[in-house]
């Protein structure tokens, strides 16, 4: 490529792709359209600028422990959890400087804080744990990626940083595809290990554990019955076109023998389609969907389970796909009741996939909890692209279960590792003895899926140099010696799971890792994502983590990126880095 050729191409671009005179509507009509949009924007934006007294009352209600005199000062430095509790995280996390403005009587122009009603379950960070006292680390499988799409919406569409508690590391890491080796023979899962120096603290090691399940042959998959449970309440109005598209895309992928039922709940619960296997009828019904009314969510879910049971395919894939913004505001909507019902159905072999959508009303915690209790997974649909990713490209993994109650346990060798910290998976926390207790439920893994977990570890030989890391001090144990000392093994990784259906006993497999595994491209990418996640969470354990550095690393290790997901993440990181300045 030389200058002349480049010049030629640029000129060609400029001349051939110029707009023609008649292409555009008049300037005046553009202006009219724009100012209509501005009016709408103005109506929905500032809502109500809260007065200082409102905020103080709010905090008083939520944090009864505060002394009256402390209230206002304390609110300048509330911990993130309290910020979340008082639901003012939007303005607090996006621009810490604004908080002061809240307490002036006159609202700062252009910075009126927006109270949003999005809810996130607050998850604290896991601390470092010393191997001598706690050699076992146990967690449940979780391959949801709802949070990532939500993050993308906030950063790229709404120009704001997410509240730290909305960032879930395991979901961020698991959003991306990795190049793990396939399981051999009849193996159900195959682990892959890699490690390197943690980018935010080079004296610590970052250990990657990736698990791959076999990619299925689409033709050999069991028949499916999907019950679409669609929230068509008024709050879903904006996203309905996308919902329609997503479902049409999925309907196009049905195979003979597959069946579809559609239930909507808006003004009332309605069954639009029951056990239908004709794709064109399905598409017709989908095309007519419209948003209306308010939301008796509980009733809709009951109806969906009733249909799923009625048309149950023995040995098949029986699944309810709930599409909602989670705003169950009428009827049996207390969280506890819903969860109890969904939980009671988990042994029937009916799975629940929850796809969240919508803005402002989005109830992340409710959606995630429902999916977790219903043996399923949760997604957030923020765009047509994401909807297709979930319903079409990721259909085998997302819709066909391979194993349930999947649990992982890592046993570290104290001779090699001084302390460790699992990144993310806070909502899937388990005690060590739950691992072998089959009554304790856990997440589901689908076919052709991948699962990635990251540990930050402090090697035994580096223990002295990281005394100040947040490893809780324990008295030296008198009777326990590092029994495996002398052994070169780093750790043993155990997987335990049950068949997707039936009551058969769980199976367990163990893999030992001889020493610190080398870095690879999977690790490089995961490390960049983890650093970004820690920076977004303002992690206390990684103050050096920076979005800028993460973006640089991510750029270097984009790899082939056939889906474009990684490139998009890079864009998101750069934007987030700008916003955080």
């Amino acid at each position: 490529m030389n200058d002349m050729l480049l010049d030629g191409l640029l000129t060609q671009w400029k001349t051939e792709r110029a707009p023609r005179p008649g292409d555009f509507s008049s300037n005046a009509s553009f202006e009219r359209r724009f100012f209509t949009a501005v009016r709408i924007e103005k109506q929905k934006r500032p809502r109500k600028a809260p007065r200082p007294s409102d905020l103080v009352n709010l905090i008083r209600k939520l944090r009864p422990a505060f002394e009256p005199s402390e209230r206002v000062c304390a609110s300048f430095s509330l911990p993130p959890a309290a910020m979340a509790a008082s639901r003012i995280h939007c303005c607090c996390s996006a621009a810490p400087g604004l908080i002061g403005g809240l307490f002036d009587d006159a609202p700062v122009p252009g910075s009126a804080p927006v109270f949003d009603t999005e809810e996130y379950k607050t998850v604290g960070e896991r601390p470092f744990v010393a191997v001598t006292t706690n050699p076992l680390s146990t967690f449940g499988a979780d391959v949801d990626s709802a949070m990532y799409a939500n993050l993308r919406r906030m950063v790229l569409k709404e120009d704001r940083l997410p509240p730290p508690e909305a960032v879930r590391l395991e979901e961020l890491i698991n959003y991306f595809g990795y190049d793990y080796p396939q399981p051999e023979g009849k193996a159900v899962m195959r682990p892959h290990f890699a490690s390197g120096a943690a980018p935010w603290a080079p004296e610590r090691r970052l250990l990657l554990i990736g698990v791959q399940t076999p990619v299925p042959d689409r033709e050999k998959l069991p028949a499916s019955h999907y019950v679409f449970l669609i929230d068509n309440s008024g709050s879903m109005d904006d996203v309905f076109p996308m919902v329609r598209e997503a479902m049409t895309a999925l309907a196009g992928n049905l195979r003979s023998g597959d069946k579809v039922s559609i239930v909507t709940y808006g003004g009332d619960v309605r069954v639009l389609l029951e056990g239908c296997s004709d794709v064109s009828t399905v598409c017709e019904v989908i095309a007519k969907l419209e948003a209306e009314g308010c939301t008796p969510g509980g009733e809709g879910i009951q109806k969906a389970y009733a249909l799923a049971e009625k048309h149950f395919i023995p040995g098949g894939n029986n699944r309810i796909v709930l599409i909602t913004d989670g705003d169950f505001n009428v009827g049996a909507s207390s969280e506890a009741e819903l969860v109890e019902m969904v939980k009671a159905k988990r042994d029937t072999g009916i799975y629940l996939t929850v796809a969240g959508c919508g803005m402002g009303n989005y109830k992340d915690n409710k959606i995630k909890m429902l999916a977790n209790k219903g043996n399923g997974n949760a997604f957030y649909l923020d765009s047509m692209r994401e909807a297709k990713r979930v319903f079409v490209h990721g259909m085998t993994g997302n819709m066909y279960a391979l194993a349930r109650d999947v649990k992982f346990q890592v046993e570290f060798n104290p001779a090699q590792v001084f302390a460790y910290r699992l990144l993310g998976y806070e909502l899937r926390d388990m005690t060590d003895r739950d691992f072998s207790d089959d009554k304790k439920e856990s997440g589901t893994v689908g076919q052709g899926q991948q699962l990635t977990a990251l540990y930050e570890i402090i090697p035994a030989d580096a223990a002295a140099s990281v005394k100040n890391a947040a490893v809780p001090k324990m008295p030296p144990l008198k009777y326990q010696t590092a029994s495996a000392s002398g052994s070169e093994e780093l750790l043993t990784f155990r997987i335990r799971w049950r068949e997707p259906q039936g009551k058969k006993a769980a199976r367990e497999e163990a893999f030992s890792v001889p020493g610190l595994p080398p870095e690879d491209e999977n690790w490089n990418w995961a490390a960049a994502v983890a650093e970004a996640g820690l920076a977004l969470r303002s992690s206390a354990f990684a103050p050096a983590a920076s979005l800028k550095h993460a973006a640089k690393q991510a750029q270097q290790h984009l790899g082939e990126d056939p889906s474009g997901d990684r490139a998009e993440f890079l864009l998101l990181l750069r934007r987030a880095a700008e916003l955080s300045r």
Binding site: D3, W13, N27, R385, G564
Partner: protein
């Protein structure tokens, strides 16, 4: 109409046709072009209080418009070129040039923000060098330097693609 809205009205009247010229060459049809520009203006409107002056606001809109345009391009990548309605030109379409042009477009979309906007407003839109520089809030000289650097990056990227082929 308040003071801020007046500012936006002025901006629309003075800049719309230039904005359309640049964005159209990226997204390829009038409807998407107007959507992109409206989105950019709305984003600016949301933070209207934080701009120092009209020039500041204007450069921001020019910058965001390019970002929005390439975002849109990326979103519909999968749906191929369905959205494009460029005029058929008399010159015969030879496949090799078409392919090169597509590669160039991709290379431009991958440039860092600063250089990408220099190429779009400095080379592709209907603005002279000094006009473009004023809109991007930099000196003409700086703009030329950025265009120069951008061209080097483009050449490099295109050469790599040629080698890969």
């Amino acid at each position: 109409m308040d003071e801020i809205e007046m500012r936006f009205q002025r901006l629309c009247r003075e800049e719309l046709s230039y904005l359309r010229g640049g964005v159209f060459r990226i997204v390829g049809n009038a409807a998407d072009t107007d959507d992109v520009i409206q989105e950019a203006l709305l984003r600016a409107f949301r933070r209207a209080g934080s701009f120092r002056g009209d020039a500041d606001l204007r450069s921001w809109v020019y910058r965001i418009a390019v970002n929005c345009a390439f975002d849109l391009l990326r979103e519909r990548k999968r749906e191929a070129e369905a959205g494009r309605q460029y005029a058929e030109t008399a010159s015969e379409k030879d496949e090799k040039t078409e392919k090169r042009l597509a590669e160039l477009e991709k290379a431009v979309s991958e440039l860092p923000e600063l250089y990408r906007e220099a190429i779009v407003w400095g080379c592709l839109a209907d603005l002279s060098g000094s006009e473009a520089a004023a809109r991007l809030g930099c000196s003409e000289n700086t703009l030329y330097q950025r265009v120069f650097k951008a061209r080097q990056m483009l050449k490099k990227a295109m050469t790599q693609k040629e080698v890969a082929r």
